[in-house]
Amino acid sequence: MSDTWERVQLASARIPFRIKTGAVWIALFAFLGFVGSSAGFDLQWIQDNMRYIAGGLRYTMYTALGGIALAVVMALLGALARISRNPVANGIAGFYVSFFRGTPLIVQMFLLYLALPPVGRNLAAKYDWLPEGFADWFLLDVMTAGIIALGLNYGAYMTEIFRAGIQSVAAGQGEAADALGMTYLQKMRKVVLPQALRVIIPPTGNEFIAMMKDTALVSFLGTTVDTMEIFRRAQLVGKHDFKNLEAYVAVALLYWALTVLFTYFQARLERRLGRGYDRSHVVKLAEASLRQRRAAGPA
């Protein structure tokens, strides 16, 4: 018995690991499919409606791209402010990060979508020196409110990423730029940020992937039909045909595919950055110390 088992183990050892885990995945998919069909899932409905739901991918991507663009800007400003010794910049950035990390995204979305317009209206009513159309600036449509909420929220989290990235640039780099008489802006633009970028880009990719999924929350505000992203579309047709579950499964598959796809690209990007022209100072330092320790032995 235990002998047979050992022979199985030895035989299996010859099959490449990747193929074995692949087989496990296939088995898991088959199992889930079985569970799904046991649950009386209407696979036909999923097939029929996938096309319509997937039609919202465009808006999912718009929202996520808009959100990440804003988030990058906020994170950059936030990080520079958090590093600076200017109390006003530092204080505002600290407040921003604390608030947007401290409250749920969904609350932020509702506040931006619902609470902002009356603020604008009342201010415009109170102070007539405010420009024409002032109140309208506060009247965001759903997608804009969603993008802004996502951007501000993720920007707050990414402030820490950017700060860490900037601080990962060796202090000597900034000192060298200072010593050459560069201004703060020149130093940042030409020396520090280009180097920080290589540390910042990979986690920013992760944030983008996370954000794609959080675009689902925008639908709780209620999007216009022309610009409905996949989650809202799934909810709509699911409710319509009383097939919520199938709709959720369909949209889950879409998100999953998106994530797997972008994770793949992100991993490639990371690898490319990894073997770039410059190896990080940390690595070089570690290597140097290793070399020395080796050299300490007989040469």
Partner: protein, 255 residues
């Protein structure tokens, strides 16, 4: 080589520097005259680097003042105007670091040209020409298009010297420029530094423990001990007959 006051390029007066409660520099006065090479040496932790870094305000003096090329500044809060004054002072000072600190995101040529270009020191062609001349002088004309990571430590340090020279400073500061190098590479850097003094008559402050270099190139040596200059004098005198036991002990360890 002592000159009149007008010859003074760097004047350090009553310099004190504390980090928190730790006083690291406890009153240093030092004049460096035009064309003079001053070698600074002393134990680890005696404050050599700190003094050098105060000269171009990478560290703010706690007390005392620094004068370079007629610009005299003390410590204190960096207001907008103060920052600009510091930047003006720095344009007269070149600095070379132990860890080279080349910009890894630029080619060798860009490393040398970026600061003059930002400071608007001449036309684009002038700047490029000067950079090429300098790279030639440090023996690296053929590496202009490389990235620093592909150079040896000695080559990197020579690029760093060219980069600092490109700003046409009145004084060059060197903080242990060869101590991060493998022994076989120190020679090429020291010889470049030597030609700076002999051929270009560059004013230099050099922290180093290469006594051979000091003996040959230095006009004056200053021995740092616990945040003060314990003694100074021409290398011939100081090395041969140090007055203090501390200096003697240190020299014995190094030589």
């Amino acid at each position: 080589m002592t000159g009149t006051s007008t010859d003074v390029v760097v004047r350090i007066e009553g310099l004190h520097k504390s980090f928190g409660h730790l006083e690291v520099v406890k009153g240093v006065d030092l004049d460096v005259h035009r064309g003079e090479v001053v070698v600074v040496f002393g134990r680890s932790g005696s404050g050599k680097s700190t003094v050098l870094r105060c000269v171009n305000f990478i560290e703010d003096p706690t007390e005392g003042s620094i004068e370079v090329a007629g610009i005299r500044l003390g410590g204190g809060h960096r207001t907008r105007r103060k920052r600009e004054q510091i930047r003006q002072l720095r344009l007269h000072v070149g600095m070379v670091f132990q860890q080279f600190n080349l910009f890894p995101n630029m080619t060798v040529l860009d490393n040398v040209t970026c600061a003059p270009r930002m400071a608007g020191k001449g036309s684009e062609t002038e700047i490029a020409q000067r950079a090429k001349d300098l790279l030639d002088r440090v023996g690296l004309a053929d590496k202009a298009r490389e990235h620093p990571a592909r150079l040896s430590g000695g080559q990197q340090q020579r690029v760093a010297i060219a980069r600092a020279l490109a700003m046409e400073p009145d004084v060059m500061l060197f903080d242990e420029p060869t101590s991060a190098l493998d022994p076989e590479l120190t020679g090429e850097v020291l010889s470049v530094m030597k030609t700076l003094s002999t051929e270009m008559h560059m004013t230099m402050m050099v922290v180093t423990h290469e006594m051979g270099f000091a003996r040959e190139v230095a006009d004056r040596m200053a021995f740092f001990h616990e945040g003060r200059i314990l003694e100074e004098g021409p290398p011939s005198e100081l090395i041969a007959s140090p007055r203090y036991a501390e200096t003697r002990a240190f020299l014995e360890a190094v030589l």
